[in-house]
């Protein structure tokens, strides 16, 4: 009797699953058709634009501009971000000194400034890292035939990169340490290679839940970005002969993201 009841329950569940799939199938096929048609239209437009050299002109202009500024980006970021970090930190520290350790609005204001410091420092770091190899490519294209320009550019590139790294590191250290002063149970030093692990370990259940939700939001955003970048690589390969390296890199990132997600999921299921 129990087996009959179980079979009946399983049949009901499977029937509900099939019913749900069928209800969404129509919309899925419509989306597929729209994507095919849309992709075809975009491809045709790109071919027309390519024939008239519009896209090539725009791409050339963007590349020229990017290469032109690449050597100076890190130095400019270091100079611009430093006063921003100083202002944010000073305001946060002043408010921390006045905080009575109970007022939630005051805590949120301080924490908001520190989070902004960490967010800006992360963006600055990414931009510096992206422009670093572009800058090197620019310097190599200058070559030793123009030694003055070569060495000035080299100094700006390396000096700027070191400067921005120092500024970011100090900003992050200050923000993290003030965060630790407000939350004494937190552990980890930004100078420790195991900082992330120690920090998360010292987070309680509510904070870990927040971290996990943020991580999943990042995973979803990255998945969408990967699809967009894959499409751009496809367009670039067809129109500009950019080679296989860009799409290969996208594939590696996609694979790492997917494998990491599933491996962790399977580990957690086995617990």
């Amino acid at each position: 009797m129990n087996n009959e009841v179980n079979l009946s329950n399983k049949e009901q569940i499977e029937s509900a699953i099939v019913k749900e799939d069928k209800s969404k199938l129509k919309g899925f096929f419509i989306l597929l058709v729209i994507s095919f048609i849309g992709g075809g239209i975009v491809g045709a437009l790109m071919t027309v634009a390519d024939d008239s050299n519009i896209i090539m002109s725009v791409v050339d202009a963007v590349i020229t501009l990017t290469e032109g500024i690449s050597v100076y980006v890190s130095a400019v970021l270091a100079v611009v971000s430093l006063p921003v970090f100083i202002v944010l930190y000073k305001k946060a520290y002043k408010e921390y000194k006045l905080w009575d350790e109970e007022n939630e609005e005051q805590y949120k204001a301080i924490d908001g400034r520190l989070s902004l410091m960490l967010f800006i420092s992360s963006i600055v770091l990414i931009v510096s890292y992206v422009f670093m190899p572009i800058g090197f490519a620019k310097i190599l294209s200058i070559g030793k035939s123009q030694p003055v320009l070569f060495w000035v550019s080299f100094a700006f590139l390396i000096g700027g990169f070191i400067a921005v790294t120092v500024v970011i590191t100090i900003a992050q250290q200050k923000a993290v340490n003030l965060g630790k002063a407000m939350n004494p149970e937190k552990r980890g030093s930004v100078f420790d290679t195991k900082f992330q692990k120690q920090w998360i370990k010292s987070c309680d259940e509510a904070e870990q839940k927040m971290i996990h939700e943020s991580a999943f939001a990042a995973y979803k955003a990255t998945s969408t970005a990967i699809m967009v970048l894959w499409f751009l690589c496809l367009a670039g390969t067809i129109m500009f002969d950019i080679g296989i390296f860009p799409v290969f890199i996208i594939g590696v990132i996609w694979m790492v993201q997917t494998v990491a997600y599933f491996v962790k999921g399977m580990q957690l299921e086995k617990r």
Partner: protein, 71 residues
């Protein structure tokens, strides 16, 4: 929000602030604040730890009322 609590009231009885309460049960001050505001529902383990601090029952501190909304 279906989970109501009297954590602030119990805390006042034994005269501990949020930071001290957090230390007693092993969570941050911010989590205690979130629980009191109803922005976070503690796990069973944490709820039991909180109740133990006050030598009270979990039901004395936390109350679930089904208002028909999902959390």
């Amino acid at each position: 929000m279906p989970l109501y609590n009297r954590l602030k009231e119990f805390r006042a009885r034994i005269n501990v602030n949020q930071q001290q309460m957090g230390t007693l049960v092993g969570v941050s001050r911010q989590t205690i604040s979130q629980i009191e505001r109803g922005d976070y529902s503690p796990s069973v383990t944490l709820a039991l730890k909180i109740a133990k601090v006050f030598e009270a029952r979990v039901e004395d501190i936390f109350d679930y009322v089904d208002d028909g909304t999902d959390e």
